[in-house]
């Protein structure tokens, strides 16, 4: 049976959407035509240490490696590292990827960490946010500088405390002497204070009498 041109065109026109529809149903049911690996993307700000071939691990077990790094210019410049990882290990959508060194002089490695709460499984094409790049050497240098500064600060405090110890002791001794002198002064002048007070009282009495006399005979007082 020979098909005409019209029939062929109509046949293709009908079969093509049906195939697309079947493909959609198959994919929707969870089947995959892919191999034992999936490609996921790692979003990173800079590619200082990551390069093609960088290992991807989970708890030390190698999952796969970086196969490509693409720059993305919009909305701001960042990079997408394509990670080809094994499908048989369950990774979840909210997992994180920490870029770190294996040891002090080791190559960088992408350490995948699953979230505590398990959600949906990570699918091909998902994007993982890369947690900031950790440079162990830089951290060691920073820690060293911090320790040196701390040591200096402790020395200065110690010197200050040693120098002021004798001064403090003298100050305390003088203070106690002053207190004793004040005490002696108070004890010795107790009688004199009483006499002064008695004298004050008599003076006040006399002044009172004068004022009364002045009230009674003001002119006489003038001529007295």
């Amino acid at each position: 049976m020979k098909l005409e041109k019209n029939e062929l065109r109509v046949g293709v026109f009908i079969i093509m959407p049906v195939v697309i529809l079947l493909l959609f149903v198959v994919l929707k049911l969870g089947y995959s035509f892919a191999s034992s690996t999936i490609d996921v993307y790692l979003k990173i700000d800079s590619i200082t240490s990551i390069k093609e071939g960088t290992l991807v691990k989970i708890k030390g077990y190698t999952l796969g490696r970086v196969i490509d790094i693409k720059p993305v210019y919009k909305p701001a410049l960042h990079f997408l590292a394509v990670l080809r990882i094994r499908r048989d290990i369950d990774l979840y959508e909210d997992c994180s990827a920490v870029i770190q060194n294996q040891n002090i002089i080791g190559d960088p490695v992408i350490d995948i960490r699953n979230p505590e709460k398990k959600g949906e499984l990570l699918r091909a094409g998902s994007v993982i946010e890369g947690i900031e790049y950790v440079n162990l050497e830089a951290i060691l240098q920073d820690v060293h500088a911090l320790l040196a500064t701390l040591q200096g600060t402790v020395g200065v405090i110690r010197d200050i405390s040693l120098d002021s110890r004798s001064n403090l002791r003298t100050l305390l001794a003088n203070l106690s002497g002053s207190m004793a002198t004040v005490n002696d002064l108070l004890v010795n002048s107790q009688k004199d204070i009483l006499e002064i007070l008695t004298s004050f009282r008599q003076t006040a009495k006399t002044m009172n009498e004068i004022s009364e006399e002045l009230k009674k005979h003001p002119v006489k007082f003038l001529f007295k």
Partner: protein, 297 residues
């Protein structure tokens, strides 16, 4: 008769003078007002009656097709095969350029609006979902149906009307061929196939156009975009799309054939063709709203 009697009566009873004139003028005004009210009320009533008659006639037409289906066992598929193929080619394959271009533009404009406005709400990651919701669920089937109605619906109505005026349909009937089965049924079959395929192609093209436009503002890997759309597009959406394509595929040729059989003279052909297109479009919008309300509300 009633109006005439009322007009004569005051003349016989009342005498001459101003009171008489005033009364006449008042009654004339009342009469005019009544006539106006009657005419105002008559128009919608007439329209309702006409609508009812139209629905009844359409029902009879559908019933006659259903009756014709009893004799489908006598129909050889070979006899309608060429009609189905030609009609599918005309409705589907020939409409592809316009469908593809409209889908690309529609997908692109939807995404342009989304990429401009979504960041304001912090939901720029839902571009794929928006495409599925707007294009796949609503605009895809509706735009496809509109294009099919304007291209093929009018053509079907005009073709049948011309065949009727040329007595080709009469000659078929004289030969003992069931015209409803021979003319309407293949067109329904072809329309279902064509609209179903066109909707799928429209959706895919609109997604592609949307994706291309979205690349200009924000980079989304193709895999992620496809995956987002796969996640957003559910089986119920698929079922509704198929339901819509089948419903539109039945209704468009049915209504257009109905109006194609209506003209009684050559001059009525354009009137009924235009009526077929307009009324089919109205019915499509009503059905689309009904289905959306039924499944998504």
């Amino acid at each position: 008769m009633y109006i005439v009697r009322r007009r004569i009566r005051p003349v016989c009873r009342a005498g001459s003078g101003k009171t008489m004139k005033n009364r006449r003028a008042q009654k004339a005004t009342e009469k005019t007002a009544m006539l106006k009210i009657e005419s105002v009320l008559r128009t919608p009533v007439k329209k309702i009656i006409a609508f009812g008659e139209g629905m009844r006639n359409f029902y009879r037409f559908v019933e006659s097709i259903a009756v014709s289906f009893r004799s489908i066992k006598y129909l050889r598929f070979r006899s309608i095969y060429s009609i189905v193929v030609n009609q599918t080619r005309f409705t589907g394959v020939d409409a592809l350029p316009i469908i593809v271009s409209i889908a690309l533009l529609l997908g692109a404009t939807t995404i342009i609006q989304a990429t401009k406005n979504f960041p304001k709400f912090g939901i720029e990651g839902f571009i794929g979902n928006l495409l599925v919701i707007i294009i796949a669920r609503e605009l895809g089937p509706l735009a496809t149906a509109m294009i099919v109605v304007s291209r093929s619906g009018s053509a079907i109505a005009a073709e049948i009307a011309t065949q009727k005026q040329n007595r080709e349909i009469l000659s078929l009937e004289l030969m003992g061929i069931d015209t409803k089965l021979y003319i309407v049924f293949p067109r329904i079959l072809a329309s279902i196939l064509a609209i179903f395929s066109l909707i799928i192609i429209f959706d895919i093209t609109a997604f592609f156009g949307g994706y291309l436009i979205s690349l200009s503002t924000v980079y989304i890997p193709a895999g992620v975009f496809v995956q987002t759309m796969l996640d957003a597009f559910s089986f119920s959406d698929l079922a509704i799309t198929i339901l819509k394509s089948v419903l539109y595929g039945i209704l468009i040729p049915l209504i257009c054939c109905y109006y194609g059989f209506m003209p009684q003279s050559d001059f009525q052909i354009p009137i009924f063709v235009s009526r077929a297109v307009v009324r089919t479009l109205v019915i499509l919008f009503v059905i689309n709203a009904f289905i959306s309300a039924l499944f998504y509300f």
